[in-house]
């Protein structure tokens, strides 16, 4: 783990590049939301501050995911390079080994703009932060992080079946960052909302929790509390993805060399 941290400081200036880029991207997304939300007054109940809350929440879970589970983004490259073989040689659970290898301290760059946007939105919205709300927030953060990780585990595990230069993972990076957690799901047609809720549960990362915190209605009128639901969906989806990863691992054939 110490090695993983140190290797990040190998190119200290590269860090600087990320320090410029990631906030640029995060605040850029917020600017787009601002520009779009000035075009409508109250449709679907999203105000700009509500959208900022939603958006900030999404980035915070992304940051947590990147800090703890960044390894899953590189599964395909490790398979193609044959590096994955090395991991299988350790006398430990390969998945555990895989995760521990890349504890990613640099994720703080990802999470900081998220925390800033989220705090700003909370201040503007005058939410009541009692004990229940804080517990709910923790549940949502854990759930959202697990959902994100599960998605990338499945995306990576596809590389065990077919050779790919990380295409599925790259797809998911953009899909999550720009298409589904940057805009609330209720802008989409009904059919797509069904897919994004029940098949790939991205709605639970930030759309439904944000709606819960703001007391808004959701499309499917899910009866359980949405924040609690996020945690449950997160755990279930993570276990499912883990199962798929293990299943993929059995199919794994080394690229040789």
């Amino acid at each position: 783990m110490r090695c993983a941290v140190q290797s990040w400081f190998e190119y200290p200036l590269e860090m600087l590049c990320w320090i410029i880029f990631i906030p640029l991207y995060s605040f850029g997304g917020l600017l787009l939301l601002k520009v779009i939300s000035t075009q409508f007054s109250e449709i679907g109940g999203w105000t700009f501050h509500g959208l900022a809350f939603f958006y900030g929440l999404g980035i915070v879970t992304h940051g947590l995911h990147v800090i703890f589970f960044f390894a899953v983004w590189h599964t395909n490259y490790m398979v193609l390079n044959g590096e994955f073989d090395r991991i299988l040689l350790y006398p430990m659970n390969p998945f555990f080994m895989f995760i521990i290898q890349s504890f990613n301290i640099a994720g703080y760059i990802d999470i900081t703009p998220g925390i800033i946007i989220f705090t700003y939105a909370c201040l503007k919205l005058n939410l009541d932060w009692n004990a229940v709300a804080i517990l709910k927030l923790i549940a949502v953060l854990i759930g959202g992080t697990l959902i994100r990780t599960g998605i990338f585990m499945i995306a990576g595990a596809i590389g065990f079946f077919r050779d790919t230069r990380n295409a599925v993972t790259n797809f998911m990076v953009d899909f999550l960052a720009y298409n589904t957690t940057a805009f609330p799901l209720n802008i989409y047609p009904y059919g797509i909302q069904v897919i994004l809720t029940f098949l790939i549960p991205v709605g639970f990362i930030n759309t439904y929790p944000a709606q819960d915190f703001m007391g808004m209605d959701n499309t499917f009128s899910i009866p359980i509390n949405l924040s609690l639901c996020t945690l449950l969906v997160g755990i279930a989806f993570f276990l499912l993805a883990y199962g798929f990863f293990r299943f993929g691992l059995k199919h794994y054939k080394s690229t040789g060399s």
């Binding site: 190119y11 200290p12 200036l13 590269e14 600087l16 590049c17 990320w18 410029i20 880029f21 640029l24 991207y25 850029g28 600017l31 787009l32 520009v35 779009i36 075009q39 409508f40 007054s41 449709i43 679907g44 596809i158 077919r162 050779d163 790919t164 230069r165 295409a167 599925v168 790259n170 797809f171 953009d174 899909f175 720009y178 298409n179 805009f183 802008i187 989409y188 047609p189 797509i192």
Partner: protein
């Protein structure tokens, strides 16, 4: 000339190596079309006419933006970054050709390849699920095509700039990650700049980004008048000339620096 065409051909072939690598980027384009058109439907449900542009026009804007975007995907910046990191750029210098021109042809290969792979599926998807992206006025098409080609060249020069910057500042890592969000917002490929507040538009008037995506797209949906379109294309050409001269000077500098570094 043949050697450049050979480079182009190699690029085309190497991109078709893995099937998943073809399918998923295509899928992402579909997702983008859905996202953009859904947002515009949502926004226009309240306000049927924003800045003199209707919903069908805006949907056409989104579809054509995706098509132009899949066409103009260049790799010069990433390539330079990897070659720099792995040191293979030294071998490039041994090759008996003008390096910048060979990079340009690599990317023309990429563009031909993108066009073959993505254009028809994306267009079909848009026609079936959204609408037929017809231009406001058919006579505008030649100007639109010219504008797209200039847009492609302008985007390539911007990529080259960031690529050369990567060569000079190796330690900064992959500077492309800074270019992408800049383009995403300032080029109007997603939200056109006329939606943005005044100060933002004033800044963007003086930068080349606006003349990449927004110019051909505005011409296509008829947001710009005929004279406005001609003027915009003229400004595109001016920017290309300016950037070409700058890149030439920059490249001469970079070449010297690199040779000195190599001892």
């Amino acid at each position: 000339m043949n050697k450049y065409l050979y480079i182009m051909r190699i690029k085309i072939i190497s991109h078709l190596a893995y099937d998943i690598d073809v399918i998923f980027p295509l899928l992402l384009n579909f997702v983008w079309i859905i996202t953009m058109t859904s947002i515009w439907k949502y926004v226009y449900a309240q306000n049927p006419d924003i800045h003199g542009v209707s919903l069908p026009q805006m949907q056409t804007y989104a579809i054509v933006s995706t098509l132009v975007g899949c066409f103009c995907r260049h790799e010069v910046q990433e390539e330079l970054y990897y070659r720099m990191r792995q040191g293979t750029i030294a071998i490039d210098f041994i090759r008996p050709m003008n390096l910048v021109v060979s990079w340009l042809f690599e990317d023309i290969g990429n563009m031909v390849n993108n066009l073959l792979k993505n254009f028809v599926p994306i267009l079909l998807f848009a026609v079936i699920f959204i609408q037929v992206p017809l231009p406001q006025n058919l006579s505008i098409i030649p100007l639109f095509v010219l504008s797209v080609l200039l847009c492609a060249l302008l985007l390539w020069l911007i990529s080259l700039f960031f690529g050369l910057l990567t060569v000079v500042w190796v330690d900064f890592g992959n500077l492309g990650v800074i270019r992408d969000p800049l383009l995403k917002i300032m080029a109007g490929s997603f939200v056109p700049l006329w939606f943005f507040p005044g100060w933002f538009r004033k800044v963007s008037d003086w930068l080349p980004f606006k003349y990449t995506y927004q110019t051909p797209l505005s011409i296509y949906i008829g947001k710009l008048s005929m004279t406005g379109s001609l003027a915009a294309v003229g400004i595109q050409a001016v920017w290309i000339t300016v950037l070409c001269v700058c890149m030439y000077l920059f490249w001469q500098k970079v070449k010297k620096r690199l040779l000195i570094q190599g001892g």
